[in-house]
């Protein structure tokens, strides 16, 4: 008997379940989505990110987001994702023949958009795609995410109601809540242990 058969057999025997029998439906999913205004979501997003020592910049138009990012990046090595919203803001990657991974490892900043943001926790949600690489928000010591404010959801529960199965969308979805941190030595908080120690959300609109 293979280990697979053996384990499944043990499980069924112990539980007294016939082979392949579907279970009764589990409890209905619990998603309580509060009614919130954009302004209150925005206020919460800003408060949460700042509480985590992240930074929030709010600009009214994509063009201004582009201008802000260019000023911030000036003189630094940055990697920019291919997200369509960044193109809309006029934020483009520099010409660089090196491989993405090598560039991310060397860059001082990684610039991405985000598919959603969660107001009640200050979270950025990034789905991997041909245009959004995982490593840009991970390897450089600073991460800037430029997000249109219509992607600002109230929280986790709303995320899972608009995206009931993230696996259908991408091989990876990551929820980023503040800068990388550790408190493994004497419970002293240190930021930027493996991921970016600085995080900036540029909220547009």
């Amino acid at each position: 008997m293979s280990s697979r058969e053996d384990i499944l057999h043990r499980v069924r025997t112990a539980l007294g379940r016939p082979e392949g029998g579907p279970p009764p439906a589990p409890r209905p999913v619990r998603l309580r989505i509060p009614e919130t205004s954009l302004e209150s979501r925005m206020a919460s997003m800003i408060q949460r990110i700042e509480a985590l020592a992240g930074r929030v910049v709010r600009v009214p138009t994509p063009a201004e987001a582009g201008a802000w990012v260019r000023r911030t990046v000036a003189g630094k090595q940055a990697v920019v994702s291919q997200a369509p919203f960044l193109a809309e803001c006029g934020i483009r990657d520099s010409e660089d023949p090196r491989e993405l991974r090598e560039r991310c490892a060397a860059a001082e900043m990684g610039i991405t958009s985000a598919d959603y943001a969660l107001a009640d926790t200050g979270t950025l949600v990034l789905l991997s795609s041909p245009r959004e690489a995982r490593l840009i928000s991970l390897l450089p010591p600073a991460h800037i995410a430029v997000v249109p404010c219509n992607r600002l959801l109230s929280g986790l529960e709303e995320l899972f109601s608009v995206l009931p199965d993230p696996a259908a969308a991408a091989s990876s979805m990551v929820l980023i809540t503040g800068p990388s941190r550790t408190a493994d030595i004497e419970q002293i908080l240190v930021r930027g242990v493996h991921g970016p120690g600085q995080i900036t959300a540029v909220l547009v609109g």
Binding site: P26, R30, L138, S171, V174, S180, Q187, V193, H194
Partner: protein, 473 residues
């Protein structure tokens, strides 16, 4: 109580600095948790717990179904599921894959499941380099120690301890500033991430309806482990399943709050299969190793089955007055605290440390803080009675062994045998006067002898033994 258990406890109690460290760290985690589950912050906390408990109960009660559903969905996304009965099957799989792919360097993110099966040691024994990348776990790997706490593995180490470990093992100048120590680890491990061919992670949840592995962490080493190397292997206990991705809205709200007092951990990764066509990066190969290692043994008993609901948040450790005095290394296995006290005897057998289920005052603090409402004190009581049953059985066996040894000796010593026969005859005869023997003198009439005689009578002893008759023939 084993000597090792007792000795570790005494050492910990006698170490003032360690007492202070455990007390402060668990106290801080405890307070952080209280702040984010407070009525004003999370009014539906109790409802969420009840919901999480019901979902876990449902999943474990129908585990075979969810295992197969998970397997189908992982494979539909191009990943592979491997069922492993024990530690050897896990390490054999990793070793043969590494050999086939020519891999030598493995990066690992924090996982209690791989601690449970000593995966690093097994891989390193076969010449692979397997590096822990969570800061605390990395320090402990360098120091050759096991985690002190489920979520704060190095809580017993001071910055001075860490300075010594880094200097000795990495040959870097002594550094006692925590930020700089972290930077040293970051730069050493960054090179490992970029060079490793295989990344091994654990899993906080396995999502049946999407075939996804969910990882929760703060440092980013989990993301690097699962994104940078070409191959990602997740090792997870079979109990980690939840039915639907949407159930994460419940579990994620509870996990970080209970573990560290965060609303969400910094990184929550939802990983389903290898990189897809066109995706910019991610691993080319994706494996999920589903580990039994004793877990199916807990399913028989509906009461003890709930031990498998655990989501490894560590809240019960911080709440436990016993853990807060005796610390993590006093516990005889990788899982410490109240949850360790119920998992260890069930995974390793009660004989592993029979005193363990008794190392609790049954105050109930653990059950009160458990986000999935495991009734730990109740399981502890069950395990206590099991230990007692085992002991009673063993004691009886000891008496039986003694009796047989005495009998064997008697059979080899004719004079003693004859003497014993005479004594036995006189004892029996003194009672019944030639009739059936129904009892023996009070001194002997106890324990198994009494039990035996309560149901049976002995024939009266003959007036003369065979030996006497032979001599007088």
């Amino acid at each position: 109580m084993s000597r090792a258990f007792e000795q570790k406890i005494h050492e910990t109690l006698a170490d003032g600095r360690l007492q202070q460290a455990i007390y402060t760290a668990t106290g801080r985690l405890k307070d952080s948790r209280l702040a984010v589950i407070a009525e004003g912050v999370l009014p539906d906390y109790q409802e969420l717990r009840a919901h999480a408990n019901a979902l876990k109960k449902h999943t474990i009660d129908h585990l075979d179904y969810y295992l197969e559903q998970f397997e189908r969905n992982v494979e539909a996304r191009g990943g592979r599921v491997v069922f492993c009965k024990d530690a050897t099957e896990v390490s054999d799989f990793v070793l043969s894959l590494a050999k086939e792919r020519g891999a030598r360097l493995i990066v690992k993110s924090k996982s209690m499941t791989t601690e449970e099966i000593d995966l690093n040691e097994r891989l390193e024994h076969h010449g692979l380099e397997s590096v822990e990348t969570d800061l605390g776990e990395y320090i402990l790997q360098l120091a050759h120690e096991r985690p002190y706490h489920i979520v704060a593995p190095a809580l017993h180490k001071t910055r001075y301890d860490v300075a010594g470990i880094l200097t000795e093992r990495l040959h870097v100048p002594r550094e006692t500033a925590i930020e700089k120590q972290t930077a040293i680890a970051r730069s050493v491990l960054r090179q490992k991430f970029l060079a490793a061919e295989i990344g091994i992670s654990g899993a906080n949840f396995l999502v049946a309806d999407s075939g996804a592995v969910v990882l929760v962490e703060n440092e980013g080493n989990g993301r690097l482990t699962t994104s940078a190397p070409r191959i990602h292997i997740a090792v997870a206990g079979i109990e980690k399943l939840i039915p639907r991705a949407q159930d994460l809205a419940t579990f994620l709200k509870l996990l970080a709050r209970s573990a560290t007092g965060q609303l969400l951990s910094v990184y929550t990764s939802f990983l389903s299969g290898p990189r897809r066509a066109g995706e910019a990066d991610g691993p080319d190969e994706f494996y999920v190793l589903l580990l039994d290692n004793g877990r199916t043994g807990l399913l028989d008993d509906p009461e003890k089955r709930q031990s498998l609901y655990c989501i490894r948040c560590g809240a019960c450790l911080n709440a436990c007055p016993v853990y807060r005095k005796i610390g993590g290394h006093s516990f005889p296995w990788v899982y410490s605290g109240p949850i360790g006290a119920i998992l260890t005897p069930q995974f390793m057998g009660a004989a592993h440390e029979p005193a363990l289920p008794f190392a609790s005052s049954l105050c109930g603090a653990c059950a009160e803080v458990c986000p999935v409402k495991i009734d730990i004190p109740k399981v502890l009581l069950e395990l206590r009675s099991e230990v007692h049953r085992d002991e009673a059985r063993r004691k009886q066996n000891r008496l039986e062994q003694l009796a047989f040894r005495a009998y064997a000796w008697l059979m080899r010593h004719p004079r003693a045998y004859e003497m014993a026969g005479r004594v036995a005859a006189s004892l029996a005869a003194s009672d019944g006067g030639g009739g059936w023997v129904r009892s023996v003198p009070a001194l002997l009439n106890r324990g198994p002898v009494r039990a035996w005689l309560s149901q049976r009578d002995l024939p009266p002893p003959p007036p003369r033994s065979f030996r006497q008759m032979w001599r007088q023939r």
